[in-house]
Amino acid sequence: MNGPPLQTRRKLTSVDYICFGLVGAIIAYAVYRVSDVLVYNWNWSRVFNFVIYYDEEKARYVPNLLLKGIATTLRLAFWATIFAATIGLVMGYMRTSKNLAMRMISRCYVELVRNIPPVVFIFIFYFFLSGQLMPLVGLDDFDKNGAFVSSGVFYMLFGDPRLFSNFVAGALCLALFEGAYITEIVRAGIQSIPKGQWEAARAVGLSPFDVLRDIIFPQAVRKILPPLAGQFITLIKDSAIVSLISIQELTFLATEVASTTTKVFETWIIVGAMYFILCYSFAALFGHLEKRALRARR
C-alpha cells in the first residue's frame, strides 16, 4: 500500500528560519575572525582589475587575465568533451562487446584512470604527449602565420596560436581522463537497452553496424544525455588540474594573479565565484533543456 507521495513544502516555517539563523551566525563569526583576528587588509578592486579593467587609451573596458583564463577553460572543456565523447563512445561500446580482447582493453583503460590520482595521470600523459606525440605529428612547428591561424576564428576555437600545441596536449589529457567516466556512462546506456531490442533488430536482418546505428545508439543516447551533461560540468571543474602542466586556464592564471597581487583571499574567492557562475549556468541550462525534452515527449 503506497500512500500519496510526500509533498515538498514551499512555505518557510519557523524551523527553516532557525536553520537560516544558524548558518548566518556561522558566516558572521567567520567574517569576524577574518577581519578582526586575522587583521587582513582587503582590497577587492585590485584583483577585480584582473577580471576586467578600464583601458584609458582605448577608452573602454577590456577583459583581463582572469576573463581570458575562463575563456581558455571553456575552450578546453569544449574540445576535451568532444574528444572524451568520442573515446567514451568507442570504449563504452567495447565494454559491452562479445570480443574478450576488446572488453579487456576498455576495462584496462577505465581501471587505469580510475585508480591513479588525476594529477599523476595528467603528468604522465602530458610528458608522454608533449615529449613524444606532439613532435611526431609535427604540431609544434606548424605555420603560425597562415591565413587561418591568424584569423579570429582560430583564436576563438583554440586561443593563442603560440600556445596551440600546449593547448591540444592539455585538452587531450583532460579528454583521456574524462573519457573513462564517459565510457562507463555509455556502457550503462547500452546495457539499459532491453535484450529484445537487439533481438528484434537482428531478426529483421540488420547488420551489426546497423543494429547499433539504428536501434541501440539512438535509444542509449537519449538515456545518457542527462548524465553526460553532468559530466560536462564535472569536466569544467576538473579542468583546473591542467593548470599543473602550465595550460593557461583560469586556475593557472589565478595562481599568477594571487602571487603578483599577494591578494590570495580575494583572488580565489573571485575565481571560485567565476567557476560557480559558469557551472551553475550550465546546470540550469541543461535542467531547462531536459524539462523541455520531457514535455515534448508527451
Partner: protein, 256 residues
Amino acid sequence: MSNTSARPQPDPDTLIAFEGVGKWFDQFQALKDINLSVKQGARVVVCGPSGSGKSTMIRCVNQLENHQQGTIHVCGREVYGNMKQLEQVRREVGMVFQSFNLFPHMSILQNVTLGPIRNSNLSRSEADDIALHYLERVQIADQADKFPSQLSGGQQQRVAIARALAMKPRVMLFDEPTSALDPEMINEVLDVMTELADDGMTMMVVTHEMGFAREVADRVVFMDEGRIEENCGKTEFFAGGRGERAQAFLSKILQH
C-alpha cells in the same frame, strides 16, 4: 511415438531442417537431439510445458541462440557463424516475439520500413508503399504515424507481424505471440495469423492456444525437457494419438 521419422531429406521444399541439434546453456542442456523438418507451406504448432525448450528451439532457427551440436538448414543454407550468411537467412525468416519488441523511438511506419530500407536498398517512398501494404493487411494502417507506446498490446503485436512480413520472408516464426496480451486482444492477433496461414505462409508457432492449433496447424510438436516428444499430424494429435506426457500437458491447459 518417436521423432525418427522427421529426418530431413535434401529437398528444396524443406525450409527448416534440424538434424541432431543440441544446445547448452553452460552446463544445462536445453535442447537434446532435435530433429525436425518444416516444409514449404507447413504450419507447425510447438507446445509443451514451461522450460521445455520451445523458445530456445525456435530461436535457433534464426540464430538468436547458437546451437553447439548438429546442423540447422534454413532455405537450403546452413546457419552457423558466418555473419553475412546469417543476415541472409534472417531476411528469409520473420520473427514475432512474445513482448512485441517494437522500436520505441520510431514511428509505426518507420518500424516497418527499417528492414526493407536497410536490407534491399529501397528508396523511402518504395519502402513506405510496402510498409503501408502490410500495415493495411494487419488493419492498422491508420496508426502509421503514431509511436508504439500509443498503441494497445494487440495493435503493437499486429505491427510486429507487419514488420516481419515487410521483409517478404519465406517462413514466419512466432514465439507465444499472444501470451502477453489481455484476453480481449488475443483474437485480433490470432485472426491475422489465421489469415496468413490461409495465404499459404510457412509458419512455426509456439503457442498454448489449442483452439488456434486445432484450426490452423497441420502438425503439432510437443516438447518436454529439451526433447521433441511428439511430432505428428494435427488430427492424430487431437484424436488421442499422443503419449502420456502430452496427454497430461494437454488436459492441464485445456482445463482453463
